[in-house]
Every structure is written in C-alpha cells, then in structure tokens.
C-alpha cells in the first residue's frame, strides 16, 4: 500500500524530496507546492507531469482527501506560522526545517513513536548525522560528562535559510543531542568551507567519559552505522573510533545519494532521506497500531 504525499516548498530540499519520492515504490507524490509560477522547482515538477500549486500552504487544502502526509521543506519561520493550518488539515506533517515544533525524530531511534504524533521534526543535519551514534553509545555507557559535535559542510550546500538562521541550527542540535542522550553538557559547532571541489559533510563527535567498554562500543558503533546506511547509503566512518583517556572521538562523513542535490551535500541528503524513511513507514506502522 502506498502513502500519498505532498511536498510543500519548491526549493532544493523540496526538489530532492521530489526525486526521492518518485524513486520510492511506497510513495505516491500527489502534489508539489511552491509560491511562484516562475520558480525552478515548479517548472521541473511540471515537466515531470506532477500536479503543482503555487498557493503555498493554502494550495494543499484542495487535495486533502488525496493526501496522507505533508513534507514541509520551507523554513523554520514559515513552519511555525503555518501551525494552525497544519492542525486544521489534520495530516501527518514531516518538518524538514529546524523549527523545533514537532516531535524530534531520528529514524533508527524513535520512528514508531514519532508516527503516533501529528508533527515530526527532523532536528538538523548535524543532529541526524551524530545522534544515532551518540544515542547508542550513551545507552551502553554510564557517566558521559560532555558531548561535542563539530560539523563542517560545503558552503554551496548551505542555503540562505541555514545561513540566516544559524542560531536555530546550533540551539536545535544541542537540545536534540541533550534530549536523546540525557547528557546536559553539549556543544555544537558548525563551520562552512567554500572549497571547490566541494567538501563532503563531515561530523566529528567528542565524548568525554571516564570509563567505557572499548570492545562493546566498537561493535555498537559499527552496527549503528549499518542501521543508518539502510536509508542513507553514503553514511560512513571517516576516522576512528579513537579511544583515549577519558575521551572517545569519531568522525563520520555523509555523502548524498545525488538524487537532485549534489553528492557532497550529505547534510541535506541525510534530512531528505530521513523524511523519506518516515514516509515509507507511515502505513506499515499504522497497520501494526490497528488502523
């Protein structure tokens, strides 16, 4: 059974979602929504024969009977101000902006629980990349004192939304790491690198802890990476894990699938891939819940 989806937002993220949706045999793209007839996104969608609207969120109301789920690929401010409309629509909303409105979801951790909510937040790119490992490590390691995430992304993969709301990125990432690991002392750092050819998204995590089980962690880290790779094939360990006194260091790189966005922008791909993973499980989990 396929899930019927609408994509709100015709920018790069919306377009990557569009291509990923078309690739999926579990999803049916009903509507692609933008704000302007002249946008590149709307033109591409039309050329692919997809139904479009340029009425922004209001455009969705004419299709409510045909839609199960809405991807919001606009921006944090727009997502927040659209809350009451999403509530009227009553559809599951998967929020790709760092608005922090909905239930934070990292697919390998809380996909099922998230699907029982009406609004799912995909945290941030740094959060999606680091939290799977940080969560699994914190589950088997007591007494973690401090966690730091240093992410570097290509300048070309950082859109205006990210740049002009960089504080939301930092705060949302730190809060999500805190809530998934239970560790209070969290630091997030984001750097942009304009090098050409573009660098691949890179995330180094530092975990300060006095005692840990090196062998157990090595296998936990490996299996966690494999779990994430089921929906983000370009997710891999670039270096580490390094175990030193009181400190564990791991560097993860994320290469995108290249569906619409270029491969170096793993930071965007990990968000769109998580969104697709959630949508593809929409029906399955609802059936288990007795629907």
């Amino acid at each position: 059974m396929t899930t019927n989806v609408a994509i709100l937002g015709s920018g790069n993220i919306g377009l990557d979602l569009l291509y990923k949706t078309l690739k999926s045999n579990k999803l049916n793209l009903v509507l692609f929504v933008g704000r302007s007839e002249n946008s590149k996104g709307i033109a591409i969608a039309k050329s692919l024969g997809i139904t479009t609207s340029i009425e922004s969120i209001d455009g969705i109301k004419h299709y409510l009977n045909d839609i199960d789920l809405i991807f919001d690929a606009t921006n944090a401010e727009s997502h927040r101000s659209s809350q009451h409309i999403f509530e009227q629509y009553g559809k599951l909303v998967v929020d790709l902006t760092p608005s922090r409105v909905g239930e934070p979801c990292i697919p390998i951790i809380n996909l099922k629980e998230s699907l029982s909510k009406k609004n799912i937040s995909l945290v941030t790119c740094g959060g999606q990349a680091s939290i799977p490992l940080l969560y699994e490590i914190s589950n088997v390691t007591r007494g973690i004192k401090y966690i730091e995430l240093a992410a570097t992304i290509s300048s070309d993969s950082a859109g205006m939304g990210t740049r002009e709301n960089i504080d939301e990125y930092t705060v949302t990432t730190e809060k999500a790491i805190e809530s998934f690991t239970g560790v209070e002392n969290i630091k997030s750092i984001l750097s942009l690198n304009p090098a050409i050819p573009q660098i691949t998204m890179r995330n180094t995590v530092y975990i300060e802890v006095d005692n840990y089980d090196k062998e157990l962690l090595t296998s936990v880290i490996k299996s966690t990476v494999n779990k994430v790779r089921t929906y983000v094939p370009g997710y891999y360990i670039a270096s580490g894990p390094f175990f030193s006194e009181g400190l564990i260091t791991i560097t993860i790189e994320v290469q995108g699938a290249g569906d619409y966005l270029p491969k170096y922008s793993g930071n965007l791909d990990i968000i769109t891939s998580a969104a697709i993973e959630i949508a593809e499980n929409y029906n399955r989990v609802y059936e288990i819940n007795g629907y």
Partner: protein, 339 residues
Amino acid sequence: MKSMDIRKIKYIDSTLRDGSHSIAHKLSLYDIAEYCRAIDGVGIDLVVVGHGNGLGASSRLIGKSLHADEELLQVARSNLKSTKLGVLVIPGFAKLSDIDKAIALGVDVFLVACHVTEVTVTKQFNEYIAAQNKEVIGILMMIHMATDEEIMNQIRILESYGVSSVILMDSAGATTHHRLKSLVKKIVTNSSIEIGFHGHNNLGLAVSNTITALELGASIVDATVRGLGAGAGNTQIEQVIALRQLQNLDNHIKLNDILRISDEIVTRINPSHSGVDGVSISSGLAGVFSGFKPKVIEASKLYDISPYKLFNDLGKQRVVAGQEDKIMETAKKLSESDE
C-alpha cells in the same frame, strides 16, 4: 598625505583574545585583571577578551578555556574603567544566548567574524546585536583566500546588514604588500565603510602591512601587545604606535605604559612567545644603537628608572655607537630628576 594623517585611528587590542591561542586558551583571571588594569587609560579604544575563537568556542575541537566566557568577561569589565570591552563572535560557535550574557556583563562592542566568503552567516547576529544598540564590527577572516572582487561583494552584503566597519583579517599572515594595496584601494574606491587591518606575522609583514593599510585609508588597527597571538603572532600594536609617533601622530597614547605591559605582563602570560620586547622598541623609537640594550637594562635596574625613559633620553642626546659610557651617567641623572 596630510589629510590622511589627521584622521583618528582606532586601536583595538586583541592581546587577551588572539593571544589566548598562543597559550592554548588558558588565560587566568589574574592575568586578565592585571592586564586590563594596566592597559586601561593608555589610549587604546577597545580591548577584546576571551577564547581565541571568541564566545562559545571553548571546545575539544579548538581547545578549552580555563574559565567560562562569563568569568573572563566579568573580570575584564571590572578592571576596564575608561576603555571599551569587546568580544569576538563567530556564528556557528557562538549562540544568540551568548550575546545576551555578554551584554548583561557589560560588553560594549561585538566583533562578528566569519570566513571571508561567508558573510551571510553573520546576518542574524549582526541584526540581533544592533537591535540591542550595541556596536558591531565585521571581520573577514582569511582574506588571502578570496579575490578583491569577491571581498568587495561580501562588504556590500555587510553594508546591507547595517555594518559600518570591517576588519580585514590576514589570518595566515599570507598577504603580500602588493595584494593588500590593491584590496584596500578597491574597498576605499567602492565603499565608505570604515576599514581595519589585523595582521599575522608568518611572513614578517604584519606591522608593515598594517602601516600600508593605514596609508591607503584604513583607520582601525586590530593588533596585540608584543604580537601575542595565534601561530607566528600578530601585528605588534606598540610597534605601530611607535612608528606613528615617529611621525608625530597618535601622541595621546602612552606608549611607555604599553612597553612596560609587554615586558612585565605579556612575557609572564606567555614566556615562550618572542616578539620584539618593549626595550628594543624604545631603542628604535629613540633612534639609539640596538647594542645599548643590555647596559640600558642594567642601568635602569640599578637606578630604578624606566628603561624606556632612559633610551628616550639617550636619543635626545643623539648618542652614537661607542658612547656606552653615557648610559650610566644618564640613568643616574634621570633617577635624581625623578626625585
């Protein structure tokens, strides 16, 4: 030239910020207090304090500070009476909540920095700080990595955010005179933004690049005492002031006080940092043979006088090499006139 010479030059002292890099961000509260007390009132416009990468940058990635940002700023604030206090802010490291804390602690000026091509990441911070009526100075880091045209475009964006001054940061000390000239000329020709220069000394050009920038229309010097700073160190602020004073400019700055801070405080903060010491700078300023230095130090200790004054007085007497016998005599006279 004359019209340029009368411009007021603004001096930003980043010793307790960039200098943090040179000691792995382990500034003590004692050193901050002592330094700020000493620098206050010498004529420096702004003292910047904190972790080398600014607010919120204490981290495993860069290095952890010995004390929290709040403590560093609090101690600096309470020891700076007549001098403005500034902090460096790099979006991606700092959060807006860090800005709130800094304002509450009495920070006057925020130096908002980013990589030279990425000014759009500073919009949110620039606007947030300006909305609270605090001064923003833009900083473009790693200027050697972008063309004049690219930098000019970034400055236009900064201006659209309401930023009225920008510091060109030669973070790797990799900018030649030739390049700096073309860049500063380009900005002066195309914009009325106030320009500053922050040099590093990797290739020995920090001071001369700073002077070059001033001659071409820059009006902000962002530098450190003894050049204490990341890597090879920075432009030595006291050398720039000395060179200006040789031209009878910026005479309101109490240079000897800064030389003493260099020799007594900065050497203690980082004993392994070389730079040019205060006594050598006063020798240069006085135009007295460098070889006089050991005897000047010896005499000034013996008579308990300032070695800078001693060099200064020897310079007035126009002594030449071979007149080392004037050192003790002059020291003795100075000690008597001091009384």
